[in-house]
Subunit: 243 residues, 2 copies
């Protein structure tokens, strides 16, 4: 009697035997790879957002101030460093106002301040500029020669403090009202830096952190600064026409 | 003698048989899928850039004008529509200047123009505003009452043309120098709209397409427009103090 051949998996069909035994494993590997790729694609937007947030800077400064400003106490802002802080006993309100916001924008200066001002007689703004000068901020001032001679002008006090001031000698007016803080923030508008303008006029001031605007205004300042070089002064042989 | 069991692949190991025959095909499918995913990942940045470019709008208008302006011929800009264009025989230069760029920014108005001006006596700027009014642009003007009465003021001509003009009655000055074009573009600076300022003073004008700035200046305009409502006029019982 012949013995029938039996099914003996470990002998018959070497390759197919291997596929048979390793098949499920290969498929598991493939499934894992594809699954990993799919999860990576899902996660991609979140990763991009995270990278972007890490690079995102704070939005550039952009502020609009309208005047007349409410009259508020600005002593705390203009206090001499080291003076003891104390509750101010004065009767004025002690909140924010357009003037206090303008003062804060100026007092943020750490390196440089260019002022190009038609008229400058506000004691608070004058005090702020002197504080900056005392702190070592490089301050340069350009102003209109007619207005610098008026009573109450802050220009004389700034000069006494050692701040460089230049002025025009033209028949026309140096009518700008702008400031540049740290070569980075432009402060410009209709406002002359006088108490009457701050307290009584309808005025506007923009505070803009914009590279291109700042660059153009800086160029304008340097042009005027050089043109008003004191070595070129002729001490007003002409009398200006009326406004 | 016993016959030894033979290797009979088609009987033994049914599953491994199938894997053996279909194995290469499955692997090809898997390779194709993984390859496709890899190419999709490679192409992703390019697709994102293409989507982004499709959405990108033209950059917002941002311009800075400095004065005094070169004196140039502005007849072509201010010509009455329908008048025959002709070579201008005048001796003035015919290129661009700060004044011509300011005129162009105004003449771009298609729907509305708000003017909030301390002083307005420039004939060219007056002509531009009248042209806009004739084209159907809604023009509203706010000005300072002291200056609107001066010789050479354009305000009377604008009123005669049917343009709405309102003014203050305060002791303080309406000292703004801004315009809003189509509720979209803000034109503001130190410049009073007078020929002396345009031709003789150092001045600046910013032209800014910025939603937030425009919104704030529009609010200021509407506030002043309502406050200067003619039904509230008392026809100047006070005399203003000196500047």
């Amino acid at each position: 009697m012949r013995r029938r051949s039996g099914q003996r998996a470990h002998v018959v069909g070497g390759a197919s035997d291997a596929a048979g035994e390793m098949g499920p494993l290969r498929w598991q590997v493939v499934a894992a790879v594809v699954g990993g790729l799919a999860r990576a694609l899902e996660a991609l937007p979140a990763v991009l957002r995270w990278l972007w947030a890490g690079r995102r800077r704070p939005p550039p400064q952009r502020e609009v101030l309208f005047f007349p400003s409410q009259v508020t106490c600005t002593e705390a802002l203009l206090r001499v460093p080291g003076a003891a802080p104390s509750g101010c006993p004065c009767n004025l309100p002690h909140g924010e106002s357009s003037l206090s916001r303008l003062l804060r924008a100026l007092l943020a200066a750490r390196a440089s301040l260019e002022l190009c001002l038609f008229a400058f007689s506000s004691p608070q703004l004058g005090r702020a500029v002197q504080l900056l000068h005392q702190r070592g901020v490089r301050v340069r001032v350009v102003t209109d020669c007619d207005y610098m001679a008026l009573n109450g002008s802050q220009i004389g006090l700034l000069r006494k403090a050692g701040i460089q001031v230049r002025h025009d000698q033209d028949l026309g007016y140096m009518h700008h009202k702008f400031a540049i803080v740290d070569r980075k923030v432009l402060i410009t508008g209709s406002l002359n830096w006088t108490t009457q303008a701050i307290q009584s006029n309808r005025e506007n001031v923009l505070i803009i952190e914009d590279e291109e605007c700042v660059r153009l205004f800086l160029e304008e300042f340097e042009r005027i600064w050089e043109e008003f070089n004191p070595t070129k002064y002729t001490f007003f042989p002409h009398k200006k026409g009326s406004r």
